[in-house]
């Protein structure tokens, strides 16, 4: 059971966390791992905070982890990483998209977006901050930021051996294959350098 790896994807409803977890899970299954993936649907999705967990290894029992369980946390939005930090192992890694999406109390001017999120993360745990949305915008579409983060995740979790590109190609719509593959490659390059 020790060799199970836990990945947690967090973000805001509509950011494409589900697509990443789907690509990740497919690739892990193809690579011969036992895989469990957990997500919550319904009320939680209407612009709320969303989390997906993917666990893989020789044999996986629980589909979810508790506090201190994640080897890698990928946060699609900056302050969401902080919200879920308790779920990261002290020896784990955080990949965070350096993009701010204000929540309702912030939009309404009642709360401030927290200052210094990235620095706080870096002071607590191994953190890589990526301007994934900017990179995806340069590649042609800001929505592809999820695949930039996925590329970074592949490096952080040591999953470079899996043939990811055909899996991406078979998961996204035909018109967006090139965009998504380019975004994925950009994400991987960022982590190598």
């Amino acid at each position: 059971m020790r060799e199970v790896t836990n990945v947690m994807l967090v973000g805001v409803g509509g950011q494409g966390t589900i697509l990443v977890s789907s690509v990740l899970s497919k690739g892990l299954v193809a690579a011969g791992h036992d895989v469990k993936m957990s997500e919550v649907h319904g009320m939680a999705q209407r612009g709320g905070s969303v989390t997906t967990q993917v666990r893989f290894g020789e044999k996986v029992h629980s589909p979810i982890i508790g506090r201190g369980g994640a080897d890698v946390l990928v946060s699609f939005e900056a302050m969401e990483a902080l919200r879920w930090i308790e779920f990261v192992k002290p020896t784990g890694k955080v990949i965070v998209n350096d993009q701010q999406i204000p929540s309702a109390p912030i939009l309404a001017g009642r709360r401030d977006y927290p200052v210094g999120v990235i620095d706080m993360l870096k002071s607590k745990v191994t953190t890589t901050a990526i301007k994934a949305t900017d990179i995806a915008t340069q590649l042609g579409n800001p929505r592809a930021m999820n695949m930039v983060l996925f590329g970074a995740l592949v490096e952080a979790a040591g999953l470079g051996d899996v043939e990811w590109e055909p899996i991406i190609a078979s998961t996204v719509k035909a018109a967006f294959v090139a965009l998504n593959v380019n975004a994925y490659r950009a994400g991987r390059r960022l982590m190598v350098h």
Binding site: H33, V35, R83
Partner: protein, 608 residues
């Protein structure tokens, strides 16, 4: 480790649907409800072999499945746990009849109330209704148990309760499916002694029900789904459902397990035998002490709910803390600086304009000191009660807004409390159980105002068709039921159909309804912003603009546009001006209409 290529990553819902399909099911009916919705959506894909339908509510869904079963087909009905309350009447009755074709009812429970109004543990329905129950713990078990459920149903002549939970429904794990068994229709033979539940028949069936439960109790002792896993015997764990996975995660091979999958009736001998061979006995189950109560009644000492929480979901962390007293190493960090991120009505949601006006009217001060109560209902429009719209007082259960509103209005009127009640519910909710509630208002003569928020789809559960979308679950065109015609037919004389995006229209309709001293209905008609519109809808419901923007020269930062609670609008605290996100904005124009200074103007979307 290389696994067989035939293993597929499936959610529990998909696996249960595939299991039902492979068991030869040919009729399935449900009302959508998280976390059960994808079961019917998945089985609906087998169009050639399975008739799959959205019913107007769970009672009708189960009844139509019962009809299919009596006619000789294997049938499935699926619903979220509160839906079983709605369907309890036919469930308890059909338990007396037994079946012709096998019948399985899925109850998808929602521990932690991710998307529900209560946290009921529906395992108790099985002993209450006196029917067998299966509890899968992962997708492979969903598949296998569903296949077996039909054999159990037909060989013991009983409907079967198939109890899932959110983490079983919505987790994906590997499944190795086999092939569909073609099950011929069992002949239908008229049999009053079995299916005509008049008291004389039911009294006899009542005895047969007890005899059947005894047979099922014997079966439970040897059923493969109740299995013992022997490892270290110092600790023994009795567990079922998803809690089994958490127990395995925490104790690994350091404990022995009695893993129960067939959990009504429970296997007394198997439990006693297991308990006698282990040291400390833990009962690890999510929510209520269902297994534990039973085990204690057998006179067996165990440790359960005195340590393991009976509220909310479990996870391995909670189980380890409760039973081992261990805490995982965690990163300590003050996260109180992170503001919450509650769900909100989408940008462009047609409910926004309606609630913005309703909130304005019901919170204004007027000379007559008129007070208001807004009765809400289950659906996205529940979010109309959140800040800053604040246009809701209560929400009890699906379809209840008109009837709860009626009772309140009668009391307010009788005791001169100077309070008007406005009930709000959605289109699908109206068809669910809102129609009899509206009849109650008309029949018993209250002046309750009913607002039917018609967004032309079942929104919250993810865009399911319903009786007035014009399409069935399997995509067939069908009669499009008119809400207005139904409302008039039940006797409401004052009916207005309005566009909720036009604030003046909303305001006028509400004011008119408030002036009336008799029942009235306002139907707000505009499709959900997430709906894939039909060709006709594209013509009828055109957005007012691609998007809007703030004219910084004109905006004086009054913040009135913030009061519509749109996620596309934000306040820049540095400049005191608002801003509209051009990508998020859907051009609904509600904020434009609230601005008193003409500072919100049409713009074109900036394409990336």
């Amino acid at each position: 480790m290389i696994r067989s290529n035939s293993a597929l990553l499936m959610s529990g819902n998909e696996a249960a649907a595939r299991g039902a399909y492979d068991a030869g099911v040919s009729f399935a009916a449900a009302y959508p409800g998280t976390p059960s919705t994808e079961i019917l959506e998945s089985i609906a894909l087998y169009k050639d072999d399975v008739m799959a339908e959205w019913a107007p509510n769970e009672k009708v869904a189960l009844e139509s499945a019962i009809g299919a079963s009596i006619a000789g087909a294997r049938a499935l009905s699926a619903m979220k746990m509160v839906g079983v309350n709605v369907a309890a009447d036919p469930l308890f009755s059909y338990a007396y009849c037994g079946v012709n074709g096998g019948l399985v009812l899925v109850s998808a429970d929602d521990p932690s109330l991710h998307s529900s109004q209560n946290e009921q543990d529906n395992r108790f329905y099985a002993p209450f209704a006196k029917i067998p129950m299966l509890e899968p713990s992962d997708s492979q078990e969903c598949y296998e148990m569903m296949r077996s459920a039909y054999a159990i149903s037909e060989s013991f002549d009983t409907p079967v309760l198939f109890r899932m939970t959110t983490r079983v429904c919505h987790s994906k794990s590997l499944v190795t499916p086999s092939r569909r068994s073609e099950v011929p229709l069992r002949p239908y033979v008229k049999n009053l002694d079995k299916f005509d539940l008049v008291p004389a028949v039911s009294r006899r069936l009542r005895l047969e029900l007890e005899a059947r439960m005894e047979k099922l109790a014997e079966f439970s002792e040897t059923c493969d789904f109740n299995r013992t896993e022997w490892h270290d015997r110092t600790i023994g764990v009795v567990t079922s459902g998803i809690a089994y996975q958490y127990a395995r995660e925490v104790f690994g091979d350091g404990a022995s397990y009695l893993k129960l999958g067939f959990t009504n009736p429970l296997p007394k001998k198997l439990i006693a035998d297991f308990a006698s061979k282990v040291g400390t006995l833990y009962v690890i189950e999510e929510l209520e002490p269902y297994l534990e109560n039973h085990i204690r009644r057998l006179g067996i000492t165990c440790i359960g709910k005195e340590k393991i929480p009976a509220v909310y979901e479990l996870n391995p962390d909670i189980v380890a803390r409760a039973l081992l007293g261990t805490e995982p190493p965690v990163i300590s960090c003050d996260t109180s600086v992170v503001p919450p991120r509650p769900p909100v009505l989408c940008a462009g949601c047609p409910h926004r304009g309606f609630f913005a006006e309703l909130g304005k009217i019901t919170t204004r001060l007027d000379a007559k000191r008129q007070k208001y109560m807004i009765a809400g209902d289950i659906g996205c429009y529940g979010l109309g009660g959140a800040d800053p719209l604040n246009a809701m007082d209560l929400c009890i259960c699906m379809g209840s807004a008109p009837s709860v509103g009626h009772g309140a209005q009668k009391v307010f009127n009788k005791f001169d409390a100077n309070t008007r009640v406005i009930a709000t519910l959605g289109d699908s909710t109206f068809f669910h159980t809102g129609i009899p509630a509206l009849i109650d208002i008309v029949y018993n003569r209250s002046n309750t105002i009913t607002c039917i928020l018609d967004n032309r789809i079942t929104g919250m559960t993810g865009q399911q068709d319903n009786p007035h979308t014009g399409f069935t679950l399997q995509g067939e065109p069908t009669k499009e039921l008119s809400i207005e015609a139904v409302v008039r037919a039940v006797g409401v004389d004052h009916v207005r159909v309005i566009n909720p995006m036009r604030l003046e229209e909303v305001d006028e309709a509400l004011e008119e309804a408030l002036r009336l001293d008799e029942p009235s209905v306002i139907i707000t008609r505009w499709p959900c912003v997430l709906k894939k519109k039909t060709e006709e809808e594209k013509v009828e419901f055109r957005p007012y603009a691609e998007c809007f923007r703030i004219d910084a020269e004109v905006c004086n930062g009054c913040g009135l546009c913030m009061q519509v609670g749109c996620p596309a609008i934000s306040l820049d605290r540095a400049t005191g001006r608002t801003r509209i996100d051009p990508i998020a904005c859907n051009g609904c124009s509600v904020c434009e209409q609230t601005c008193n200074f003409g500072a919100i103007i049409r713009a074109e979307r900036q394409h990336a």
